[in-house]
């Protein structure tokens, strides 16, 4: 199952609490900030290793966020990759 999340805070938290094995989460829009390493660590760092975490590259770039500042587990996709995630996962839940 694919979760598309567009903001941090409660929306991301509600979503993260419901992720289970082999789910995929894609951070878009303002949610890409959750990919950045923080102190204390963000909820993204607490996720089990069998959950794939993606961030939309153009939303990172637009906000000046560099992959080097982000958790190592984050994978990056462009819009073509976004489409592939949608194609390869069902169902899709948009969290906004």
């Amino acid at each position: 199952m694919l979760y598309i999340v567009n903001k941090k805070g409660e929306v991301l938290k509600d979503c993260v609490e419901r992720l289970t094995s082999h789910d995929v989460i894609l951070l878009i829009e303002d949610a890409v900030l959750a990919a950045v390493k923080t102190s204390p660590s963000s909820v993204i760092s607490t996720l089990a290793s069998d959950i794939s975490v993606y961030a939309l590259r153009s939303d990172m770039k637009a906000r000046g966020l560099d992959a080097q500042r982000c958790y190592e587990r984050i994978q990056y996709v462009d819009y073509a990759g976004f489409v592939e995630l949608v194609e390869n996962n069902k169902p899709v839940r948009s969290c906004f």
Binding site: M1, E17, P91, C95
Partner: protein
């Protein structure tokens, strides 16, 4: 069944989950979301309505949005069985967060654990939120 003079109309049936995770009052989006739910039933789709997160409070009795001149959506929830929408579930963990019990809910809803909901979600075709 009357098949004579009737075109064989085969409508695909999909399983659609409608997730209510916020209140139904305060803005018109909840009201408009209910319209989609009812419409899905009118198209003979398999409809599941799920209340979770803050949305469990949308089931509270005694909501009085009329005091703000807002339309009360609680009676509209009572139309669900009219359109044969009987698969209404509410997440157990969210009920616990707010200390709610089943008899505090305005409509009949099955209390289901987060993990069992997840199993059902995985078999859905499309998920809707608002």
């Amino acid at each position: 069944m009357n098949l004579i003079g009737t075109l064989p109309l085969v409508l695909d049936v999909k399983t659609l989950f409608f997730i209510i995770n916020k209140g139904l009052q305060g803005n018109v989006c909840g009201q408009e979301f209910l319209d989609i739910i009812l419409m899905a039933a009118a198209f003979d789709q398999k409809v599941v309505v799920l209340f979770e997160g803050d949305g469990v409070n949308a089931l509270l009795k005694n909501q009085q949005p009329e005091c703000l001149n807002l339309k009360n959506m609680m009676p509209v929830l009572d139309t669900l069985p009219v359109y044969d929408i009987n698969d209404v579930i509410v997440e157990k963990e969210s009920m616990e967060v707010y200390g709610l019990t089943e008899n505090e809910l305005a409509i009949k809803a099955a209390v289901v654990s987060r993990s069992d909901i997840k199993k059902r979600l995985r078999s859905a075709d499309h998920l809707f939120g608002f």
